[in-house]
C-alpha cells in the first residue's frame, strides 16, 4: 500500500478545505470500501481525511415525519432506528440484507452512496478497465459479466453500482446534502448518479471535493413498502437483482407506486416506466406483469446475464403482489 498521512478534522469546513487543498487526498469514513481498494492498489491516496468526528452521526425525524440522516451514521444504526423500521421499512430491510453485521457496524451512509462497483476487472490493476483507467477498454463486455447491468449501461462500462441501501433511498425520493468549498448543495438522488455514457470513471454529480453531510428523506408515502433481494447464497452476498417498492391501492386500483431496482443497471434504477404503466390500473398480477415487461423492454442483456431479465420481472411482480395483499387489494 502506498504511504499516506492521516488527519482528523473537527469541523465540516475544515475537512472540505483540507480535501480541496490536496488533490491526492480522500475522505475516510468506515473504510470498508476505501481501505479494501487501497490494499489492492485501486485507490492510492496520499492523505486520508477522517470524517467520522464531524458531528454527522445523528438521525432526526423532521417535523413533517421525514428523516434527516447524517452522513456518518452507521448502516446498523440506520437500519435498527425505530422510525426507519416503522415508516421506511424498505430502507431498513435493504440495509439489513447487505454485507454482514460487522461491516454494517463500520459502514456509513456517505460511504455506502459512494462505494465502487464489485466488477472483478475493476479490482485487478493488471487488467484494462475504463472505470479505473479511462480509455483502456472494458474486458467485461466479452468476458465475465454474469452479474453486470442489463439496463442503462454503455459499451464503455457495463458494471453495476452494488448498493442495497441506495435502491431504497431511490424509492423514497431522498436528497443528498453536501458541502463544497463554495457552500452547501442539495442533489436529488434521481440526479446523483450519472448515466455511464463514455465517462464511467465519473460516477456522480457530486461537485469536486464535496463532502456528503447527510441525506434527507421526505415523509413516507402512505403505503406499505418492502425490499427483496436475490443473491447467489442465502446471506452475505451482493444482489444479483433486488427490488424496493411501495404501493397504495384505492378501490382495487393502483393509486400510487414506487419501484426501484438494484443489481440491474449502472446505478440504482428508478423504474419510472413501470410506475407510469401502473397508475390507475387494477392492482392485479396481470397489471404488475405488464408494467414489469414495459420497464424491461429496454433491457440489453449480454450473453451471460440474460437470466436477469426474467429474474427482475418476476421480482417486481412478486413484490408488488405481496404489497397488494398487504394493502388488502
Amino acid at each position: 500500500m502506498k504511504e499516506f498521512t492521516y488527519v482528523r478534522p473537527a469541523a465540516v469546513i475544515e475537512a472540505v478545505t483540507l480535501r480541496a487543498g490536496r488533490p491526492g487526498s480522500r475522505y475516510l469514513a468506515g473504510g470498508t470500501n476505501l481501505v479494501d481498494l487501497m490494499k489492492i492498489g485501486v485507490e492510492q491516496p496520499d492523505e486520508l481525511i477522517d470524517v467520522t468526528g464531524l458531528g454527522m452521526d445523528r438521525i432526526e425525524t423532521t417535523l413533517d415525519a421525514g428523516l434527516r440522516i447524517g452522513a456518518a451514521v452507521s448502516n446498523s444504526d440506520l437500519a435498527v432506528h425505530p422510525a426507519v423500521r416503522q415508516d421506511f421499512a424498505a430502507l431498513s430491510q435493504a440495509i439489513l440484507s447487505g454485507a454482514s453485521g460487522q461491516l454494517r457496524n463500520m459502514a456509513t451512509v456517505g460511504g455506502n452512496l459512494l462505494q465502487r462497483t464489485r466488477c472483478a476487472y475493476f479490482a485487478d490493476i493488471s487488467l484494462p478497465c475504463n472505470k479505473r483507467n479511462p480509455g483502456s477498454g472494458c474486458p467485461a463486455l466479452a468476458g465475465e459479466h454474469h452479474n453486470h447491468a442489463i439496463l442503462g449501461w454503455s459499451e464503455h462500462c457495463v458494471a453495476t453500482h452494488p448498493s442495497d441501501m441506495v435502491v431504497a433511498l431511490m424509492a423514497y425520493d431522498a436528497t443528498v446534502e453536501a458541502h463544497t468549498p463554495s457552500g452547501p448543495v442539495r442533489i436529488p438522488i434521481s440526479d446523483f448518479y450519472r448515466p455511464v455514457a463514455d465517462t464511467p470513471h465519473l460516477e456522480t454529480t457530486l461537485p469536486e471535493h464535496a463532502l456528503i453531510t447527510g441525506v434527507t428523506v421526505p415523509p413516507a408515502p402512505p403505503a406499505s413498502s418492502r425490499y427483496r433481494k436475490v443473491r447467489e447464497r442465502a446471506s452475505f452476498a451482493f444482489a444479483t437483482g433486488s427490488v424496493a417498492a411501495a404501493l397504495t391501492v384505492r378501490a382495487g386500483a393502483v393509486h400510487a407506486v414506487r419501484i426501484a431496482l438494484g443489481g440491474a443497471a449502472s446505478h440504482p434504477w428508478r423504474a419510472s416506466t413501470a410506475e407510469a404503466a401502473l397508475l390507475g390500473e387494477p392492482a392485479t398480477e396481470d397489471s404488475f406483469a405488464k408494467a414489469a415487461a414495459a420497464e424491461l423492454a429496454e433491457a440489453r442483456p449480454l450473453p451471460h446475464n440474460q437470466y436477469k431479465v426474467a429474474l427482475l420481472r418476476d421480482l417486481i411482480v412478486a413484490v408488488l403482489g405481496d404489497l397488494a395483499v398487504e394493502a388488502g387489494a
Binding site: 504511504e3 453485521g101 442465502a234
Partner: protein, 168 residues
C-alpha cells in the same frame, strides 16, 4: 511520512504505540501487542476471522485502520473470558463442538458475543418479520452469523453453540 502514535485500550489494558498509518487494527494487535488469537483469513472483510469488538461493537479488524481506532476500547478473543471462567459463548463452543480446526473460532466467538448483545438491544435482522419479536432460532442465528465463514463447515455445531449461549 506515515508514522503516528495511537492509544488503544485492548482487553482493559492501555497501550500507546507508534504505528505506520497503513497498519490495520488486526496487524497492530497481532504483530505489535502479540495477541495472536484474532486470525487473518482474507484481509478483505469477507470471512470474519479477524472479528473484534470496538467500543462494544463487532467489526472486521482487517479493514479497520489502527489510527482510525485511536482512543477506542478494543476487545479481542483474549479478553472475552472472565479470567479463568470461560464466557458462556466459549463454554457452549467447547460443549457442542463449535469448531474443527479452530481457525475461524476466535472470530466466531467474538461475533456471537456481539450477536447476543444486538439481540438483547432489540436489533432486527434481515429475516426478522416486522410484526413479531424475533426469537433467536436457527434461522436468525444463521443470518446474524453470516459474516463469519468456516472452511471446515462446522456450522451445525456453531449454530447450536450460539443457541445454547443465548439461553444461558
Amino acid at each position: 511520512m506515515g508514522r503516528v502514535e495511537v492509544t488503544l485500550t485492548v482487553n482493559g489494558v492501555r497501550h500507546a504505540i507508534d504505528v505506520d498509518t497503513r497498519m490495520s487494527l488486526l496487524d497492530t494487535v497481532r504483530e505489535r501487542l502479540a495477541l495472536t488469537g484474532s486470525k487473518k483469513g482474507c484481509d478483505q472483510g469477507q470471512c470474519g476471522a479477524c472479528t473484534m469488538l470496538v467500543d462494544g461493537r463487532r467489526v472486521v479488524s482487517c479493514l479497520q485502520l489502527a489510527i482510525a481506532a485511536d482512543g477506542r476500547e478494543v476487545t479481542t478473543i483474549e479478553g472475552i473470558a472472565d479470567r479463568d471462567r470461560l464466557h458462556p459463548v466459549q463454554q457452549a463452543f467447547v460443549d457442542l463442538d463449535g469448531y474443527q480446526c479452530g481457525y475461524c473460532t476466535p472470530g466466531q466467538i467474538c461475533s456471537a458475543v456481539a450477536v447476543l448483545q444486538e439481540y438483547s438491544d432489540g436489533w432486527p435482522s434481515a429475516v426478522t418479520a416486522a410484526d413479531e419479536p424475533a426469537a433467536l432460532d436457527e434461522v436468525e442465528i444463521r443470518e446474524r452469523m453470516s459474516g463469519n465463514l468456516c472452511r471446515c463447515g462446522a456450522y451445525a455445531g456453531i449454530v447450536a453453540a450460539v443457541g445454547r449461549a443465548a439461553e444461558a
